[in-house]
């Protein structure tokens, strides 16, 4: 643990042009600290702010200069106070000098650690680099940066620069921006520094690596081209899924006075014979049984060890194949990377030569791998060239596992070209689809790629760590709704949708979707995926109206509307309401409509389906007045309100209010218990109420 202890100085720009993005910076820094508080509690962190009105740092006292830089926190072990401070960064008023701030940060690290802790000292700069740095007393700015960079190298420091330039502040001075970018490049070239440009808040959250893992090789040895020619390689994981943390079970049995209680729960396993549950089998008396058809074949570990497949540790080349033969979807697992043995020039050259040849010829290599001696299986995989464009980084290969014959299920699917013409798009439809695919573009030319995996945070984990922090302060806190910035990962960006409104509308108009009328409702029920979260509420809402047996719908003519579909819910609803072949239809129609409204509201994205939901609600209201069922509607709308408030769909309530959907009053339907005044004020009241 302590071996990997990291010292980090956050160098944050809090000047006026940064204010717009400071909330995201607060979040990403908090996340960094939250994870450190759990996984690397002894890491030390300091914070330097620049662009501050005041000046508060040691360098200014010692040598003068370095104005508008405030050391918010000296390098100390992470704690809750630090987190608190980072969540409330001040908004300051001066355009700061990032180079000065870097020097202050370096100075802090040097004073604290001297030349020790090489490679475990990190600076992290977040700025928009829109403002010029001061001219040095002598030499050029570039010389100055070079000196600082080489000092950084000598001290074994690394630096991550996140340059956050949202689109709105692009009108800034181009010349200064270019100059700064040039200076930052000097850092990248002359020291272990990395620069990431960020144009969207979502990317900012993913730009700072919050997970600190020292990589471990899974294989070191030969890549055997032939028995006589080996290349020394090291194999590492390139991707590995960061899992949701496993929380311990909590026991509340310990008395509250017990200060040293662990509250942990131990899980004990006891093995019992299935035939005679009173007989306990000691764990060592167990033996593994494998299923083979109806039989279970017992094999002891020793037997298994004796007969199992035991390949020797090796990585052997089987040959080269055309890259087009290996389809992307055959990649089976997370990805490994093959790098030539570090510091050994010959293998680096060999890998480089092969990688370049393969890239040029569009070839891939097929290899057979046994990572460890005694590993009971072999892996066949594909090496694809990774030709490096950074001159400091050698070429390498990515490795992906390929399936064996047993792993592939070869199902037959109908050809699209053989589909009946009703399922084939016509030319107009095809053109609309082409436009949609082209215009709904997440990687526009000349702009940054949106939601690039390398810079996209995991929304579930972000949410978990934020909630954990919230809970530590208030143990009754409810899970907050997903943050706006994170919503951009799970839902389409409203801005992009808005820009392409006409393309999308056009696409929508070109195609017709309708529910299959032949399908019986009962079967559809079975097939239907349960929507999240709503089931319970719907059950309660059902009030038994859904309870009649499904076979009641067995009518000779199946074309009659039995269900409210996605395409024309209002018509479907009206058709069902007007059916007179059974009294059940009215309540069924009302229930179906309620479900539909819920579905529309819950699945809406930035209100794209609100209008449809409103149409449905209006139809439902009309229907309920006609059929003298005001209570059904009134209860439903109250429930819907409550639901929207809880699920952060307040915008729908506002939408309804603006379209004057009110409760059904006594004057409209005699059965209603709501007076006209109550009906009208309902929205106002409920908004205050929650």
């Amino acid at each position: 643990m302590a071996r990997n202890k990291e010292a980090l100085v956050l160098v944050l720009d809090v000047g006026p042009t940064m204010h717009a993005i400071l909330p995201q910076i607060e979040k990403v820094c908090s996340m960094l600290i939250e994870k450190k508080l759990i996984y690397s509690k002894s890491d030390e962190v300091g914070v330097v702010l620049f662009g501050t009105e005041a000046t508060e740092n040691e360098l200014t006292k010692e040598v003068g200069g370095y104005e508008h830089i405030t050391v918010l926190r000296h390098i100390k072990v992470v704690d809750g106070d630090l987190l608190q401070a980072l969540q409330n960064l001040p908004r300051e008023s001066v355009d700061g000098d990032f180079l000065d701030a870097i020097v202050v940060g370096m100075d802090m690290l040097i004073k604290k650690f001297g030349p020790t802790n090489k490679g475990k000292k990190r600076l992290c700069l977040i700025t928009n680099a829109l403002h010029p740095i001061k001219d040095p007393y002598e030499g050029t700015k570039e010389d100055q940066v070079s000196t600082i960079a080489s000092q950084m190298m000598a001290q074994g420091m690394k630096m991550d620069c996140v340059i956050a330039r949202l689109t709105q502040n692009m009108e800034a001075n181009k010349r200064i921006m270019e100059e700064n970018d040039l200076l930052l490049r000097v850092f990248s070239n002359k020291s272990s520094s990395k620069t990431v440009y960020v144009e969207s808040p979502t990317k900012l959250l993913g730009a700072l690596r919050t997970r600190n893992i020292s990589p471990v090789t899974i294989y070191r040895g030969d890549l055997e081209l032939s028995p006589k020619l080996n290349i020394k390689v090291w194999v590492y994981k390139k991707t590995s899924e960061e899992k949701f943390p496993t929380l311990k079970r909590y026991s509340n049995k310990a008395p509250p006075t017990d200060k040293f209680a662990t509250h942990e729960v131990k899980v004990d396993y006891e093995y019992k014979s299935i035939e005679d549950p009173t007989r306990v089998v000691p764990p060592e008396q167990r033996i593994k049984g494998y299923r083979y058809g109806p039989q279970v074949v017992p094999i002891s570990s020793a037997e298994l060890e004796a007969v199992k497949f035991k390949p020797d540790k090796s990585v052997k080349l089987l040959g080269f194949a055309n890259a087009s033969n290996i389809m992307r979807h055959y990649y089976m697992k997370d990805v490994n990377i093959f790098i030539a043995e570090p510091g050994n020039a010959k293998p680096i050259l060999a890998v480089s030569a092969l990688a370049r040849a393969m890239k040029e010829m569009m070839k891939v290599a097929i290899v057979r791998c046994v990572w460890r001696q005694g590993q009971g299986n072999v892996v066949v995989g594909v090496l694809t060239p990774n030709v490096s464009d950074n001159e400091n980084i050698p070429d390498s290969f990515y490795f992906n596992v390929l399936p064996f014959a047993e792993d592939v299920r070869e199902f037959q699917f109908p050809s699209f070209s053989n589909l009946p013409s009703s399922m084939q798009p016509n030319q107009q439809q095809q053109e609309a689809a082409d436009r949609l695919v082209r215009m709904l573009d997440l990687a526009p030319l000349g702009k940054e790629e949106i939601l690039q995996p390398d810079f996209t945070p995991n929304p579930i984990l972000e949410r978990f760590y934020r909630y954990l922090e919230l809970k530590s302060k208030d143990k009754d806190a409810a899970v907050p709704p997903l943050d706006e910035t994170l919503k951009k990962i799970t839902e389409p960006d409203p801005e992009i949708l808005f820009q392409n409104k006409s393309v999308i509308e056009d696409f929508r108009r070109c195609f017709e979707l309708k529910e299959n009328p032949k399908l019986k409702k009962s079967t559809r029920r079975l097939l239907k995926e349960k929507p999240s979260g709503l089931d319970d509420e719907r059950e309660v809402l059902g009030n038994g109206s859904d309870a009649q047996p499904m076979d009641a719908i067995e009518y000779p003519c199946k074309i009659k509307t039995e269900k409210i579909g996605d395409a024309n819910p209002v018509q479907d609803f009206e058709a069902m309401m007007s059916r007179r072949d059974s009294p059940e239809w009215v309540s069924k129609a009302i229930q179906c409509m309620k479900d539909k409204v819920f579905e529309l509201v819950e699945n809406s994205c930035e209100g794209d389906s609100y209008q449809k939901a409103l149409e449905c609600l209006t139809a439902l209201r009309k229907g309920c007045i006609l059929e003298q069922e005001p209570k059904q509607f009134n209860d439903f709308i109250l429930h819907l309100y409550k639901f929207c408030q809880q699920k952060d769909l307040k915008s729908f309530c506002e939408y309804l209010a603006s379209h004057c959907i009110t409760l059904i009053s006594k004057t409209e339907a005699a059965d209603s218990e709501v007076t006209e005044d109550e009906a009208k004020t309902f929205i106002v009241k409920s908004e205050q109420g929650f």
Binding site: P403, D407, E529, G565
Partner: protein, 627 residues
């Protein structure tokens, strides 16, 4: 329940959270193979091929055998029956002529496949003439109708099980497209009518009848003569059957194998495109790692299955608990409690549907953007008519413009950012190699990606790059060592094959352990061909220079301190190892008099683990000696 940490096939990173990996589904399938055994199935039309290999009957048998072997591994709960018709002998409950139900001991006619069934079925062709015999069952002058009988027997076999929980199928394998061709007039009409009625009765009972037509290039299987009506095929469905006709036998086997398995979807999801517009797509697990199946723990004394009981014990008080609904995470030196409900609420950020976010060029999808096996999606018009049309349009546009779709969703408890990559249908030799549709690829997040390359990068040194000459020699090598027509999944998994061969041998009480050929080893002979050897030498010379042999030794300079230390220990151990007479020590029980350090000499020299208590070390040594 598998509680064993050292599962044989587990890689370090394998994760047992695996409903996903298994792609399992819970409906049972009951399947009857109806195999035509008429003399026509045995005739071979290609004289060049050896008679046994070439017969259609052989093709049918080997396909069934292969699928039985797959089935016993993957879906052993499904039940099968194998039934021949147009046979000399008869064996069936109804005592009908020309139908022979093949079975083995300890098994009902329609039952789960067993090791014995597979073993005996493997050798059926040798005994076929003696035990079953082949004979035309529909001849003019007799009123026997073997096809009718066969359908009847199959239907009777499938009486078992409810149509709701089981999926019942009859697979008919025949090369006779006109079974009633040899008879004429009223008798023919009559026989056709009764046979069709028999088939329809079966279909009304929820049994689906499928035909695997076997035929050769020179005599095409004409489905419309009789079977189209029997199967109730119309229009487009007919054309799909033509794929099989006119195939070479090898390709045909391939195709048969694919058709024997029924498609099973994982589930149906909504693909939300925009503005409340959504289509239905079915998801399929076409590629999932196969593992040796779950372990059932047995009592080694009785060989009866055991179950494990979990109990929760409070560590502080020792009290027995119900499974607590609270979890905790220590954070800022205190315990933060979260309920199970809160945890699942955190994870619930999507509705389980797939939501389109936009499109990107395929070049944005890097080789390292992968976490798990992909999932296949195919449109369905069953509930929402028009889904297929939209899907096809998008599919074409994406292929045309070389773009993939970025979407969010997949599963409701672990939703992910996914890439939807359109795959065009690929047909080779008349058969579908790649189905048309989209593959859903799970993308990593920023913290899932490691920047290993940079760890060893040194800012001050420029990494060596191959010169053009070196790349050229490499190119020559790459060109020469070419796996022509390499297709993924051409190898079977040797570990799995071995595992099941062992199981089969044990299940049948065989003494001999079968040898499994490891197909994944490189082609030694091919590599030793002079042309390749020469290119390898050239590459070696151009990259490593004259003294390649020294290269192995020269790595000492770059060794880290730890590995140097390790090596020193190993060297020392080998030196010290020879100073003891280990066998003698073991025999006289004097191992325990040695120090742990001394014991480790033995272990290190023999590449054994050196961890554990002294007693463990001694027992490890004894085991290694075979005592």
């Amino acid at each position: 329940m598998d509680l064993d940490p050292e599962d044989v096939f587990r890689d370090d990173e394998d994760d047992p959270e695996s409903e996903f990996h298994q792609g399992r589904d819970f409906t049972k399938e009951l399947l009857v193979y109806l195999v035509d055994a008429s003399p026509k199935m045995f005739s071979t039309s290609c004289p060049s091929e050896d008679a046994k290999d070439g017969s259609l009957f052989h093709a049918a048998i080997s396909c069934i055998l292969e699928s039985l072997k797959t089935q016993i591994i993957n879906r052993s709960y499904d039940e099968v029956a194998i039934c021949f018709f147009n046979t000399r002998e008869k064996k069936n409950l109804q005592d009908l002529n020309g139908v022979y139900v093949f079975n083995v001991a300890e098994r009902e006619d329609l039952d789960r496949p067993t090791a014995r069934l597979i073993k005996e079925f493997e050798s059926i062709e040798e005994k076929f003439d003696n035990d079953i015999g082949s004979k035309y069952g529909i001849l003019s002058g007799s009123r026997d109708n073997s096809l009718y009988n066969a359908l009847w027997v199959a239907q009777a076999l499938l009486r078992k099980g409810s149509a709701k929980t089981a999926d019942k199928r009859i697979l008919l394998l025949t090369n006779e497209d006109d079974p009633f061709g040899s008879i004429k007039g009223i008798t023919k009409m009559d026989m056709m009518r009764t046979t069709l009625q028999r088939a329809k009765d079966a279909q009304d009972l929820g049994i689906s009848i499928e035909l695997l037509p076997l035929s050769r290039r020179n005599d095409e299987f004409n489905i419309s003569l009789f079977y189209a009506e029997l199967l109730g095929l119309e229009g487009d469905e007919l054309t799909q059957f033509q794929a099989l006709a006119g195939e070479r036998l090898k390709d045909m086997k391939e195709q048969l194998r694919k058709r024997i398995f029924k498609k099973r979807k994982i589930r149906r999801i909504k693909f939300i495109i925009a503005n409340g517009m959504s289509i239905d797509v079915d998801t399929y697990a076409l590629i999932r790692p196969t593992n040796p199946g779950t372990i059932t723990w047995l009592d080694s004394v009785t060989n009866l299955p055991i179950k494990s009981d979990r109990s929760f014990i409070c560590t502080d008080t020792g009290a027995l608990l119900q499974e607590p609904a609270q979890r905790f995470q220590s954070y800022k030196s205190e315990d933060v409690m979260l309920s199970v409900d809160e945890l699942s609420e955190i994870k619930r950020i999507a509705s389980g549907h797939l939501r389109l976010l936009g499109f990107k060029p395929l070049s944005c999808l890097k080789d390292y953007h992968n976490l798990r096996p992909s999932t296949f999606i195919f449109p369905s018009d069953e509930e929402v008519i028009g889904s297929t049309c939209i899907f096809v349009a998008l599919h074409r546009s994406m292929l045309q413009l070389n773009r993939f779709a970025l979407a969010f969703g997949g599963s409701s408890n672990n939703p992910h950012l996914v890439a939807l990559v359109a795959q065009n249908e690929i047909i080779s030799g008349g058969g579908q190699v790649e189905p048309p549709g989209m593959h859903l690829i799970y993308l990593p997040y920023s913290d899932d990606i490691r920047h290993v390359e940079e760890v060893h990068a040194d800012a001050n040194t420029i990494a060596p790059r191959a010169t053009d000459d070196q790349t050229k020699t490499a190119s020559a090598l790459v060109r020469r060592i070419d796996l022509k027509d390499f297709s993924v999944c051409q190898f079977s998994n040797p570990a799995l094959q071995r595992h099941y061969a062992v199981l089969q041998a044990l299940a049948l009480d065989e003494d001999e352990m079968p040898e499994i050929k490891d197909e994944t080893l490189p082609d030694q002979e091919g590599m030793a061909r002079p042309g390749i050897v020469k290119l390898l030498e050239e590459f070696k010379l151009s990259v490593f220079g004259e003294n390649y042999e020294d290269n192995d030794l020269s790595t000492g300079g770059t060794m880290t301190e730890a590995s140097r230390k390790r090596k020193a220990i190993a060297d020392n151990a080998t030196k010290e190892y020879s100073k003891y007479d280990w066998l003698e020590l073991a025999d006289t029980g004097k191992l325990k008099d040695l120090t742990v350090a001394e014991l480790k000499y033995y272990l290190t020299a023999n590449n054994l683990s050196v961890t554990g208590a002294k007693a463990a070390l001694i027992s490890r040594i004894l085991t290694h000696m075979g005592k």
